[in-house]
Amino acid sequence: MVDHSVVGRSLAPVTAHVEPGRLRFFRETLGERNPVYTDAEAAKAAGYAALPVPPTYLFCLEMMDAEQAFEFLDVLGADLKQVLHGEQRFTYLAPVMVGDTLRFEPRIASITDKKGGAMTLAVVETKVTNQHGVHIADCSRTVVVRNKVAA
């Protein structure tokens, strides 16, 4: 079972760089063809100073540059075989573009037991700011822990 006393705990902050080569690899993996994401002129016409990132890429940046991408598992006392991604939310407040340096500040926002303790939902909320101190996004990830229940 997951220890409820970890609610409110902050996880290690992550500093992530929006690098053009890594972003290109992501776009090519997804088959991204939208010129706003691939062409600097189209990006400028859309109001971006440089190529912007697709809507889920914030999640990737945080994992790629984390010292320990699965630190939340240690805090929850769970392992990779037990967990699934239950829900993911992004709120976009300002653009994120190639060349930006972002700071992710995750914390355990809530822990809820379900199905008589057979599973636990843990919500990790992350505030994201850029190199200018602008709050650019909020992310929320719900992790489903399949608890080891005695038969």
Partner: protein, 138 residues
């Protein structure tokens, strides 16, 4: 590319629909590297079996990235205000995804006229894998 700002949106309008090719092992391996999500359950058959699954399966965030692409093909990216999904079911290898979205509500959001979209991603059997919502400025 369609541009939602060029027309009047109404509740019930279908804003997006996009189909994706079957998900291959190679694609999941590429996504593992491209996303920084190195969870072996998506690429290592031995690990997946040890965890009780018959095979590897897609990252939820890979499927959400497909839905995000379908969304920003239809909605000019600067108009996106929020994007959320629930991962309803595991997406199997070989799945052919179809992403769809329609308008459920027109709202004022932080002083802006916005539309709420209901989003789904289904496989070729019509099974819902992701259900979500986006708010876009109009």
């Amino acid at each position: 590319m369609s541009e939602t700002s060029n027309r009047q949106l109404a509740v019930g309008d279908r804003v997006l629909r996009k189909e994706f090719p079957p998900i291959s092992r190679h694609k999941l391996a590429l996504y593992c590297g491209a996303s920084g999500d190195h969870n072996p359950i998506h690429v290592d058959l031995d690990f997946a079996k040890a965890a009780g699954y018959p095979d590897v399966f897609a990252h939820g965030m890979f499927v959400m990235a497909c839905l995000g692409q379908a969304l920003t093909d239809a909605v000019h990216p600067p108009r996106l205000r929020s994007f959320a999904t629930r991962f309803i079911a595991i997406t199997q290898l070989g799945a052919r995804l179809t992403c769809e979205g329609h308008v459920t509500e027109l709202v004022e959001h932080n002083g802006e006229r916005c539309a709420k979209l209901a989003l789904t991603t289904k496989d070729e059997n019509g099974d819902v894998k992701l259900a979500g919502e986006a708010v876009i400025a109009i």
